[in-house]
């Protein structure tokens, strides 16, 4: 039983990180219909900014996390302004190519400055709580708590504030949103900023139990894409539920079946769900 609960916790840890990254991806997709391949690179830059602030400048973990969120949000907005905005009338393939370009560019810049070495962000929360056989490192609990708090905050922001509602309006119906006078530029920038901040916070939460290196975004990005396809492109609850499904599939599948096949399990799940519900679990568009 303890082992089962342990795996549930592992699944929650992974699922909440995947969910946070997928949320940013799905928000951008919902508004601009751009599959932002550069999102994984933003996640990676977030981890490096956190590393820089914490290890090289000696700042507090939380300050570093806020700094990472701010820097990456800004970077994300810059990507929108400098790359995606000028391409808004171009065929969709151009956005995709540009996104891959940003991904390669950011990775190369980070590798140029910090090298390809693996780095570690030391966590101030090294304690490990033990409940019987259960191992609960505080950093992992922090990840789960932090991710869900952030998801809750995002939900409130989108539902209860005027700026949040403009994002949803844009996602639901672009022309309609223009008709009622919503500023598309502002909404696009806002969306990119939120997506970037979410990726940076996910990275800052997860990096202390993992490693920081230039290629770290690839894996998370791949998972995030699976998640938003699973959950329905552009759907917010889809990203959260999808994140948890993949997290649990990896943890439980990896434990009870085989670690070697844990990715296979996640992808088989994707195939099964898509063959039953081809549009994903939640229909397209933010509701």
């Amino acid at each position: 039983m303890e082992l089962f609960i342990q795996q549930i916790l592992n699944g929650l840890t992974l699922g909440s990180i995947y969910g946070l990254v997928a949320l940013g991806l799905t928000l951008v997709y919902g508004i601009l219909h751009v599959p932002n391949f550069a999102h994984g690179a933003l996640y990676m830059v977030g981890a490096y900014v956190c590393y820089f602030a914490m290890v090289e400048l000696g700042l507090n973990y939380w300050v570093a996390m806020v700094a990472a969120a701010a820097v990456v949000a800004l970077l994300s907005v810059l990507c929108e302004r400098l790359v995606f905005h000028p391409l808004r009338h171009a065929p969709p393939i151009h956005d995709k190519i540009a996104a891959i370009g940003i991904l390669l560019f950011l990775e190369a810049v980070v590798q140029m400055h910090w090298g390809a070495d693996f780095r570690r962000i030391p966590t101030p929360y090294n304690e490990i709580l033990r409940l019987g056989e259960l191992t609960l490192p505080v950093q992992r609990l922090l990840i789960i708590g932090g991710a869900f708090a952030l998801m809750g905050a995002l939900h409130l922001y989108l539902k209860k504030t005027m700026t949040g509602l403009t994002i949803i309006a844009m996602a639901q119906n672009r022309e309609g949103a223009f008709l009622v006078g919503i500023d598309a530029n502002r909404v696009a920038m806002m969306t990119f900023a939120i997506a970037g901040a979410l990726a940076a916070i996910a990275a800052s939460l997860f990096a202390p139990i993992n490693l920081v290196y230039p290629a770290m975004g690839h894996l998370v990005l791949l998972k995030a894409f699976v998640i938003i396809i699973l959950g329905g492109m552009g759907s917010i609850p889809g990203a959260i539920i999808g994140g948890l499904i993949i997290g649990f599939a990896e943890a439980l599948g990896g434990f009870y079946i085989s670690s070697t096949y844990k990715d296979v399990i996640a992808f088989v799940l994707l195939v099964v769900i898509l063959s039953i519900k081809p549009t994903g679990l939640f229909t397209k568009g933010v509701r």
Binding site: N10, I17, D117, R120, T135, N210, L219, F255, S259
Partner: protein, 390 residues
């Protein structure tokens, strides 16, 4: 119109290229090739190996280059990125030989070595292979030198040390790439032969896993005495750290790809890797050349020297000397033949691993040291001494 423009551009480019090539010919240069991962997940490993070559070449050129049959040559490294892919390594090999006329090509992976071996004898270049898989030289390729010792040399001593100290139950939790599979295939039978049993086998993809908690807890649920771990050092450190977090108190057998000191950095210090058996971190080695190299490396870099840098540094010095002895820059067979003599002449400061011999197959032979963490300190033993115990 556009066609004439293109012609004009090509002409300009050709003129420029010829000008550059002419400039390069002013001082005689011999190109040495390198194909390895310089981007992607294995970029660090590739960079480390290339750095060893660079350091050696800098020293050689600073001393006026090499003297080949009365002519002074500077050495130039032509490095190409193959992202760890054998097919790209093969393409790179062709490019290096045809465009840069390299008599020697270094590659730091077995896949790349096998790919190059398909045509190196015909195209005429010597492969300096940094991989410890025995089959690289067992296939009878005349122009292949394998730089590090066979990994199979470590299997028996590792088994012996770990089993005597911790017990007979082994949990396999190493990585899933080809090299790790070679290790598992050699290690598991040796462990069983020594009277041990394998209670859990759950290899994990070290490069593509976001987290190891699940995999490690699966292995630990079978209650092993010793964990067999290994892949790149840092992910191995995470596996060790998470095993300790989950309450594992036994020992570790660390595959030679990971270095105990680097593993300890990630795992949370030497205490976390107590009871680990692995290859000797360079900084702890008591070979005469090791300290020299570590010192030299420290002057130019802020991190710690790794064995891949040291081995390739040594190999580059060896090749340069062999070219001098052979008296030719374009006959790889003569260069290969000159290696034993070059090895005998090589000063200890260029030979951090104290390599003594080269076999006819092209294996460089050393009496390797095995490291064990005892009470938070690294203790060293020669493989030859361990065998004498029997």
């Amino acid at each position: 119109m556009t066609f004439t423009k293109t012609i004009r551009r090509v002409a300009a480019a050709t003129a420029l290229a010829m000008g550059l090539a002419g400039g390069a010919h002013a001082a005689e240069t011999v190109n040495i090739g390198f194909t390895g991962p310089l981007s992607g997940g294995a970029a660090l490993y590739g960079e480390n190996t290339l750095e060893g070559l660079r350091m050696a070449v800098e020293e050689i050129n600073a001393d006026g280059g090499i003297d080949v049959d009365g002519t002074q040559y500077e050495i130039n490294i032509e490095s190409l990125d193959d992202m760890y892919s054998p097919s790209r390594a093969a393409v790179n090999g062709k490019r290096l030989v045809q465009q840069s006329n390299t008599p020697v090509v270094f590659t730091p992976h077995s896949g790349g070595t096998f790919a190059l071996q398909a045509f190196n004898e015909r195209d005429g270049f010597l492969i300096m292979s940094y991989t410890s898989i025995p089959s690289v030289t067992e296939k009878g390729n005349e122009l292949t030198v394998k730089i590090p010792p066979n990994f199979t040399d470590y299997v028996e001593p590792f088994t012996k040390i770990a089993m005597e100290r911790f017990g007979k139950k082994l949990g396999v939790a190493n990585a899933t790439h080809d090299y790790a599979k070679y290790w598992t295939k050699a290690f598991v039978p040796a462990w069983k032969e020594a009277g041990g049993e394998v209670v859990a086998s759950n290899p994990m993809d070290y490069n593509k896993s976001a987290d190891f908690y699940t995999g490690v807890s699966k292995v630990l649920s079978a209650d092993p005495d010793v964990l067999f771990v290994g892949g790149a050092s840092e992910p191995t450190g995470l596996v060790v750290r998470q095993a300790r977090e989950l309450g594992f108190e036994g020992g570790f057998v660390v595959m030679d790809q990971a270095k105990i000191d680097e593993v300890a950095n990630v795992a949370g210090g030497m205490d976390a890797v107590e009871g680990a058996v692995g290859v000797t971190p360079l900084a702890h080695s008591d070979n005469p050349g090791a300290a020299d190299f570590v010192e030299k490396y420290k002057q130019e870099h802020d991190n710690v020297a790794t064995s891949e840098t040291a081995y390739n540094y040594f190999a580059m010095h060896l090749v340069a000397r062999a070219i001098e002895q052979a008296g030719t820059v374009d006959d790889p067979i003569a260069i290969r033949k000159a290696i034993p003599e070059a090895l005998a002449d090589l000063p200890a400061e260029y030979n951090p691993y104290d390599v003594q011999e080269i076999s006819d197959d092209g294996d460089l032979i050393i009496d390797a040291e095995v490291a064990e963490v005892v009470d938070g300190e690294i203790e060293l033993r020669r493989i030859s001494d361990l065998k004498d115990d029997d």
